[in-house]
């Protein structure tokens, strides 16, 4: 596992003394486990407990949850961006598009924290958001290619991929270990609904700004207000 401190994009991090670096790595490893199991609503306190470090150490290494999210999920977001690149290499635009959706939804099913990351945005998580924006650029090309091939409905919008991930996160979090493959059926239904020709008109996509605001629900103010322990 590569510590975030050594990641070339983590420009904010100073070189750390070795015990500090060890703590940082332990916190990241613990957060991977806790977020994968409980999603991003998990408290910083429960990550500290899992890591076996005190709260003070926790907040010294990661003053905000966004910084922790950045360090924990940048690798996953890299893999996600790679999925888009692989899809663009598929000579069949529709196969590429469908393959991307299936892989991306499977990544959500494997990690509750990443399921949340794909439906949220974290403006100060610079490395993570840089990768997400690269993935978005690829997704736009993927959509355009599938439309040009006549296989994707014309009214399909990039925001529909965000909505798909929100729906998939709902199925994944509700079915969990009890019915771990249930999401595949919902994803397959949605893929069939995306296929051209459209069976009918759709309600308008949400405005870009509105959807962005919805994805900001994980920003510091919201995370604080929804953090377990703060409300009870």
């Amino acid at each position: 596992m590569t510590s975030g401190a050594q990641h070339p994009d983590d420009t904010a991090a100073q070189p750390l003394r070795s015990d500090a670096e060890r703590n940082r790595e332990r916190i990241i490893a613990a957060a991977r486990t806790v977020f994968a199991r409980d999603g991003l609503n998990a408290s910083m306190a429960s990550v500290a407990r899992q890591a076996g470090v005190g709260i003070a150490t926790m907040f010294r290494r990661f003053p905000t949850k966004e910084e922790l999210v950045d360090a924990v999920f940048v690798d996953r977001m890299n893999a996600y961006a790679d999925t888009v690149a692989v899809a663009l290499d598929d000579p069949d635009p529709w196969n590429g598009f469908v393959g991307y959706i299936e892989t991306a939804c499977a990544m959500q099913a494997a990690d509750s924290g990443f399921a949340d990351v794909l439906t949220m945005t974290f403006p100060t998580a610079k490395a993570l958001e840089k990768r997400r924006n690269e993935a978005y650029e690829g997704m736009v090309r993927l959509i355009d290619r599938a439309k040009a091939a006549g296989r994707l409905r014309e009214d399909f919008d990039l925001s529909d991929l965000v909505l798909l991930h929100m729906a998939n996160a709902g199925v994944v979090s509700a079915t969990g270990d009890a019915a771990p493959d249930a999401w595949r059926r919902v994803a397959a239904l949605l893929i069939q609904s995306f296929e051209a020709p459209a069976r009918g008109p759709l309600p308008a996509s949400p405005e870009h700004d509105a959807l962005y605001k919805a994805m900001l629900r994980g920003s510091p103010t919201d995370i604080t207000s929804s953090e377990p322990g703060k409300s009870s």
Copy 2:
């Protein structure tokens, strides 16, 4: 608002002294507000705070969260069952089916707590589960009618309505007030995917027992383990 204590199905409730009854009503009203805003993960403590009663009073009136959920949501589940009955009265089986889905998803969008209730089951919430089972019986007839009319794909299963509600809950909770109508687009896409003839095969539905187990995630053990405040 009818107090749960006066509901004919709430056989467990004893006649209460008037102050006790007043507390009970305050708690139910507070829980309606808190669950509608935060979903069923909201803690009993936050309901008590909203009601302005102590924790001891709270647990004297509602020893378990299931009993509170039963008292709070039986009216909503009545309305849900009514929606199914209205759909069955529609002379056009497909119109009835689609109208039911739109209304049921709108009920989820209006109340985060009820959005959770439709994807969970609470074995000791007797009144609520009795209504849910009545609704399920109607939904089976609704599905059969729409298939017989050749409008609903043959491989559609009752469990697909549960998965639909899980997906919709994911969209509703992720978009919230920022994009309050986004769920309509996802629901419309799913409805188009349900329409006959099917565009292709689907992965199998989850086993009945597996989906039931997933819906049990709100049972006392799970509620305790996921209750905010317990984990931090």
